[in-house]
């Protein structure tokens, strides 16, 4: 219920961010309007990373207490994180085309984004091939924890490898402000969607529990008694 209340301010914030990106942020000299992609790209990249940490942390908490509620957080974060990672690659690709006239290059941050996306995909594939909720949660948690330990090493490796990605573009103060607004508002959207998705998963779990407790015969028996005589 509370998520409905949050919908409005989050929507307003995201709308404000998009407007700011389109109208308020000054046009960049070399790239022109295409540079505005970076506001979305950075937000998505940040969320993909945060999402992965959430999956890992929720997985660890599941392993500790074997409470499936933690696994719902992990799954929700993984789904949203995968989306963010895909969007990071897509927006990054568009940006690369605009900046360097190529759809893909093997440079540090793009490589790291790709690895993150592949890790998410692997995680979701493993989850998808397991039916038992506890087994799924357990093996997913192991994979997620491995991934979380891996991410800093990936970042280090790719950073030391030669690359063309701009490290910190010297940004105009207005641009920086718009960037922060974008990141903040999309983070809000992410959190909202995460909460909604997690609640969905929890309700699915509860429904499954309920179905299990009522034997099939009894359910049908109850239905029959409801029919008009």
């Amino acid at each position: 219920m509370h998520s409905r209340l949050w919908c409005i301010p989050v929507a307003a914030l995201v709308a404000a961010a998009i407007l700011a990106v389109c109208l308020v942020a000054p046009t960049e000299e070399t790239m022109g309007d295409a540079q505005r992609i970076v506001y979305i790209h950075v937000a998505m990249a940040w969320l993909a990373l945060v999402g992965f940490l959430i999956v890992g942390a929720a997985g660890a908490m599941y392993l500790r207490g074997r409470n499936l509620l933690w696994d719902h957080w992990a799954q929700a974060a993984a789904e949203l994180g995968w989306l963010c990672a895909s969007l990071t690659l897509a927006t990054g690709s568009l940006w690369a085309h605009a900046a360097w006239n190529t759809w893909w290059t093997w440079d540090p941050r793009l490589l790291t984004s790709f690895i993150l996306w592949a890790a998410y995909s692997g995680y979701l594939l493993v989850r998808g091939s397991l039916d038992d909720p506890h087994r799924r949660a357990r093996l997913g948690a192991v994979l997620a924890i491995v991934g979380v330990f891996d991410v800093p090493l990936v970042i280090m490796a790719t950073r030391w490898f030669r690359g063309m990605h701009p490290t910190s573009p010297g940004m105009d103060p207005t641009m920086r402000l718009v960037l922060w607004l974008s990141v903040f508002s999309f983070t809000g959207l992410f959190v909202l969607l995460l909460a909604i998705r997690r609640r969905q998963l929890r309700q699915e779990g509860l429904l499954a529990d309920l179905e299990r407790q009522t034997p099939l015969e009894d359910r049908y028996a109850k239905e029959r008694t409801c029919l008009p005589s």
């Binding site: 392993l63 692997g122 493993v126 091939s129 093996l139 192991v142 994979l143 924890i145 491995v146 090493l153």
Partner: protein, 240 residues
């Protein structure tokens, strides 16, 4: 039937002789493989085929070859190694041997280390075949500094074996999991493949500079982190 006195085994509280058990588990795996000759030939063949394919592509100048050979070598090592790691787990699951192994008084961590050691040996075997092969095919001075190559080979070996053993064990329990394991491991093992490739390349330069040492440290960190992670997480992987 006489099956010994009640006190045939002392009722100790601590797990004893873990090192001995590790040794015997490794011995069991290596002896089985030596007799079956199922996994290693396929693994070596894959490595050689990949190496030859790369060699065919390399109509490059010597400098360019020196740039690329490290990556190609380590990719070949990785793919061949994953084949071995996968198949060793799958082979153990037939005949119910895996469950039998877990029902012994030995902790899953010890099983992990035994598997890790065997996989590292398999990777070492691949390296012993592929490194000379690459030297012969592409004529690059890979072994110019043998000790540097050895250091990189060992660190890369342990890193790949650590994460490969854990994730192959994880995938072995999933239906059609064998297809998944390479997919799961490849993105996560990039730091090792990249690092080892770079270190190999830098090892062929005129002088060994700080960059080489930094890559070795990364490889070492990876090996340590994932051996530890594997030792802890393998407990959770084998629960059913």
């Amino acid at each position: 039937m006489d099956y010994g006195a009640r006190g045939a085994v002392g009722r100790h509280d601590k797990e004893r002789y873990v090192t001995a058990k590790l040794w015997w588990m490794m011995h069991k795996d290596l002896a089985s493989e030596w007799r079956a000759r199922r996994v290693w030939p396929a693994m070596l063949l894959l490595g050689i085929v990949v190496a030859l394919m790369f060699a065919v592509q390399m109509g490059l100048s010597p400098e360019q070859k020196q740039e690329t050979v490290g990556s190609l070598l380590w990719l070949a090592i990785f793919f061949a190694g994953m084949l071995a790691m996968d198949r060793s787990f799958v082979a153990e699951r037939e005949e119910g041997c895996w469950e039998g192994l877990l029902s012994y008084p030995v902790s899953p961590t010890a099983v992990y280390f035994a598997k890790l050691a065997v996989n590292a040996i398999a990777l070492a075997a691949i390296q012993c075949v592929l490194i000379p092969l690459f030297v012969a095919l592409s004529d690059v001075p890979l072994l110019e500094r043998p000790w540097a190559m050895l250091a990189v080979a060992v660190l890369g070996n342990v890193g790949i074996a650590a994460i490969g053993t854990l994730l192959s064990g994880l995938a072995a329990g999933i239906r059609h999991g064998a297809n998944l394991s390479v997919l799961l491991v490849l993105p996560l093992v990039i730091p090792v493949v990249l690092g080892a490739a770079e270190a190999t390349r830098l090892g062929m330069e005129e002088t060994l500079d700080a960059a080489w040492w930094r890559w070795c440290q990364l490889l070492g960190a990876f090996a340590v982190v994932f051996t530890t992670a594997g030792a802890v997480l393998f407990d959770f992987v084998v629960e059913d």
